[in-house]
Symmetry: C2
Subunit: 188 residues, 2 copies
Amino acid sequence: MDPRDHLAPPDADAPEETLYRGRWLSLRKRGRWEYAERNNPGGAVIVIAVTPEDRVLFVEQYRVAIRSRTIEMPAGLIGDIQGQEDEGMLLAARRELEEETGWRSARMAFLHQGPSSAGMSTEMIAYVRAFDLVKVGTGGGDASENIVVHEVPRGEAGAWLFARAAEGYSIDPKLFAGLWLLEHGPTA
Amino acid sequence: MDPRDHLAPPDADAPEETLYRGRWLSLRKRGRWEYAERNNPGGAVIVIAVTPEDRVLFVEQYRVAIRSRTIEMPAGLIGDIQGQEDEGMLLAARRELEEETGWRSARMAFLHQGPSSAGMSTEMIAYVRAFDLVKVGTGGGDASENIVVHEVPRGEAGAWLFARAAEGYSIDPKLFAGLWLLEHGPTA
């Protein structure tokens, strides 16, 4: 595929070892490289959603790993529900959007997929754009989540995120990627 | 700090356990949450750099975790050199930019710091903008790296990244965050 794969380091062909397998994550190793891997290999999907009132949807929740509240776009794991492991990316995106925000999307478009932190993880993150939103519920996530929904006017979204960061919220830079894809991606 | 910290789940105050400590990464657990942590806790820094010819600097390298070539912005760990663990973020950014690309920056500005994947990792990523670039070397990284430098006209950077993704390169969405910060951040 890539004409420069011959520049790959010798580690690339070393056997892969599992150093530890947890309930949700494993720590793996290839050559001298260590990395985390989700035991559910489907990856995650982030939903870029704008309401008919031109407001971008964000969700606020507490993340135990970093012991901090975060602002994120609606997101979830692909195929993390027992018995639905083969659900598609767009299906997962639609489900998470509705569970977390109460908005249902009639049409979704795949925008991009890439690694979230290729130096230490195999996690792949996809972005989809949700169109034609209709409010069907209150959101808030499933029973294990405690999610606050924010609807922010599109033109103020960047400044709003920086204001939340200044207040102490953790803001994943992937949110700014979401804004870039919103500004430069398909509009309908 | 955050008036809504009382909404944190009970897991937030569970004791932290180390499930496994590797050479570079550890797998840790708090309550029912598992996450990866770098043994070097300084975090990473991404450098948004534009040459005097208005070209954005990208680096191409092979990432063993995902067994794929990636396009990234110049980046590195803060304080990962033995004896220099307390080097500052801007110092690390300047060093990595020069090592990887051969460009030296006379002035750097901090833009943002946030988690790279708060659901599974404690890693924090900072973005800095490099100004006043002067070419001082060829780049290519240190002895363990094999880095190809790309200089892409600023207005074509987004399309160029999508073209590389179509060729099979892995493109971390944080690159689009870098472009957003370039478009909306300080210009000098």
